[in-house]
């Protein structure tokens, strides 16, 4: 009897080797590779959507004075650009990479909760559909900045804010479900022999990131729920008239917001820790210190939130504590950068496209880290606060940091995913074009900020004109480079030189050593041997 069932099950599986046909495949899929692809495409679409809003911002800032858009629309653009890039482009891209890679890296057949996985993804198009629709509403889109400080987001907010709140709830539910899935997969489904300290660093960083997500996304959900009840149900969480406090909004928001910035960078550390050893042809230097550094960054991230609020009128003792705690984070982060550099030391390095993006990450993320240190120093932050220096800082860590790592991951793993090599020349053009453009775009913003140009303002004094024009030109060039990237992506998916199973000479890990390129639709139905 039991052998019959086993036989039937095996037979069943035989019939459904490949994906279903047609569009419904993508709607009903529970396959981690399909869902990974969906996440990555959503993230790319959001990158182009958020990027087009950045183009409007840079267009308006091309010259002093108001030429193209109304200030209120400009505010909507800065708000939506931030929200779409953070929640729509960077976070889903990392979840997509986790979906594709985590099961293949730990030797699991799929994610632990495949149906939940489908739901996690399919909430997002609706969340972003709702968010994007606010632009076409009578009140316009939310215009209070992506940090949606009360009372701008409560007393003075447009009606569309309720749609924004609902969209944030959906994104939060999606992230929390996705994270639970990733933790369950990593802790329960590793192939025999894959101990925690043998896991690739990408898996480690995602495990820690997933814990951060389930800890702080609900706090964000709480913050927007309080906004909602303040707006409609007579509560006064953030309204001084009823005994509330708008400053408390900032505390709650940044209690979410600071771990959030590490959610957007820890998986990037994992990607870089995979790419650098491959192209340096040396194992990663200091694997366990990398794990401990990641964990320390995650723990510290809960204790430093008020460094975003040095100017709200904190007592000196508070400023000192948050300043020292913030600066402390540079130690584990420094450990990582030095480990990457030491991995390359005396390695047989080659500079294929993924390596170029990874090296670009290390150099430019470090620049962003240094400006972060400057901002973390409370007495000088009083000058830098809310200037373009802050804008330059977080774009260095998010664009040349997080986004660069995502693009590096694409070039590194796309031959594995599709079985096609990308065009090396086009990849290198994409890298150099983007890297020159992104520095023309963001480097002058440091100077603008130090000279006192405030962020989120559609107009500026005449002395800022040259640097803004330079920055805008860099912005248009960088935007165009990502349209070029779209061409490379489509071209690589549709065809290209056949990739080997190992793909890269120095590649290690189950996905390169144990699976063909492209991997079968269902991989590791039997656990692979782990050395």
């Amino acid at each position: 009897m039991s052998s019959e069932i086993t036989h039937d099950a095996a037979h069943d599986e035989h019939d459904h080797h490949g994906p279903a046909k047609g569009l419904m495949r993508w709607v009903t899929t529970t396959n981690h590779k399909d869902i990974g692809t969906l996440y990555l495409w959503l993230s790319f679409i959001m990158l182009l959507y958020g990027g087009s809003m950045a183009m409007i911002i840079r267009l308006e800032l091309f010259q002093p004075g108001l030429q193209w858009v109304e200030p209120h629309f400009f505010n909507q653009m800065t708000t939506m650009h931030g929200l779409v890039m953070v929640f729509g482009a960077i976070m889903p891209a990392f979840v997509g990479l986790a979906n594709w890679l985590v099961p293949m890296m730990i030797g699991a057949p799929d994610m632990a909760l495949p149906r939940l996985n489908n739901w996690s993804f399919w909430l997002l198009p609706f969340a972003f559909g709702i968010l994007a629709s606010t632009t076409f509403m009578e009140s316009g889109a939310p215009a209070f900045g992506w940090t949606f400080y009360a009372p701008l987001s409560t007393t003075y907010a447009p009606d569309s804010t309720d749609f924004f709140i609902f969209a944030v709830h959906l994104m939060g539910i999606s992230s929390v479900m996705g994270s639970i899935n990733i933790i369950a997969t990593i802790l329960n489904m590793r192939a025999p022999g894959m101990t925690l300290m043998k896991m690739p660093l990408f898996v480690w960083t995602w495990l820690i990131t997933a814990y951060l997500l389930i800890a702080v996304m609900p706090v964000l959900a709480g913050a927007v729920t309080m906004m909602l009840t303040d707006r409609h149900f007579g509560t006064s969480f953030f309204d001084a008239a009823g005994g509330g406090d708008p400053v408390m909004f900032q505390h709650i928001f940044w209690f979410f917001g600071h771990p959030e910035v590490y959610i957007m960078i820890l998986p990037a550390f994992g990607i870089i820790s995979a790419i650098i050893p491959t192209f340096a042809r040396k194992p990663l230097f200091g694997y366990s210190s990398m794990v401990y550094a990641t964990a320390s960054i995650a723990i510290l991230s809960f204790m430093v939130w008020a460094h975003h609020m040095f100017t709200v009128g904190m007592p000196v003792a508070g400023e000192l504590y948050f300043m020292y705690a913030t600066i402390l984070i540079s130690i584990p982060t420094g450990v990582k950068v030095f480990n990457w550099v030491t991995t390359m030391w005396k390695g047989s390095m080659t500079f294929e496209t993924p390596m170029l993006w990874a090296l670009g990450f290390i150099v430019m993320f470090t620049i962003g880290g240094f400006s972060g240190l400057m901002l973390g120093v409370a007495p000088v932050d009083t000058q830098y606060h809310d200037t373009y220096f802050v804008v330059a800082h977080f774009h260095y860590v998010l664009v040349t940091g997080a986004l660069y790592s995502i693009i590096a991951a694409f070039y590194y793993w796309v031959p594995k995913w599709t079985g096609h090599m990308y065009n090396e020349t086009l990849g290198k053009i994409h890298f150099w074009w983007s890297t020159i453009a992104v520095n023309v775009l963001f480097f002058p913003q440091h100077f603008l900020g130090l000279a006192g140009m405030p962020r989120r303002i559609p107009d500026y004094s005449l002395q800022f004109a040259e640097f803004n024009m330079i920055s805008s030109i860099g912005g248009f060039a960088f935007g165009l480079a990502q349209v070029f990237f779209l061409y490379i992506v489509i071209k690589t998916i549709r065809g290209g030189e056949k990739a080997t199973d190992r793909v890269w000479e120095g590649a290690t890990g189950l996905e390169f050593e144990q699976l063909p390129s492209p991997p079968p639709y269902h991989s590791f139905t039997e656990a692979p041997p782990v050395r």
Binding site: A112, I180, N181, A184, A215, P218, M226, A241, P315
Partner: protein
């Protein structure tokens, strides 16, 4: 090291609650430390007349604001005062309604520097209750306060700010 998704799901549920728990925690934290400019309140009988420190004077400045939506003008009759720590003083604010309806307002205090807040105690204040002003009414409202004599001697000046918020029509 196995885990169950249901157990994991408890973490977001708890953290959602924690987000709301931050609200009272924040108030308790401000209460204990005296941060955030929340002033103290004491009974007149608790004042010890022997603890007046005449060797020190502190300048107290008074600010008054009304928030949008409340058609009141609001100002202190005296803009600043020199006070001795430990002694009880009275300041008067004048409020005038320019609405023909009865309107309700609530004053919220804030003290700067924040560390002075817990030493700035009031025995009587118009901010303790809601104020209802009839149409075009003018009212003088008293405030009795005492700066505690254990206030840090680094503090030479205290700014007390009141903002009247609208609570609608009465």
């Amino acid at each position: 090291m196995k885990t169950s998704p249901l157990k994991l799901a408890m973490i977001p549920v708890l953290m959602f609650g924690f987000g709301f728990a931050l609200v009272p925690l924040y108030d308790v934290f401000c209460d204990i430390t005296g941060l955030n400019g929340k002033t103290g309140r004491i009974q007149a009988s608790q004042i010890d007349a022997n603890r007046v420190d005449t060797s020190r004077t502190i300048e107290v400045r008074f600010l008054a604001n009304t928030s949008t939506g409340l058609p009141w003008s609001f100002e202190p009759l005296v803009k600043k005062m020199e006070v001795h720590p430990g002694q009880l003083y009275e300041a008067v604010y004048r409020v005038r309604s320019s609405s023909k309806e009865t309107t309700l307002g609530q004053a919220i205090p804030s003290v700067s520097p924040g560390l002075a807040a817990e030493h700035f105690n009031k025995t009587e204040c118009f901010c303790f209750t809601q104020q209802a002003l009839e149409g075009y009414e003018t009212r003088d409202m008293p405030l009795r306060f005492i700066v505690s004599s254990d206030i840090s001697d680094k503090i030479e000046q205290i700014t007390l700010s009141y903002t009247f918020f609208s609570l609608g029509q009465g």
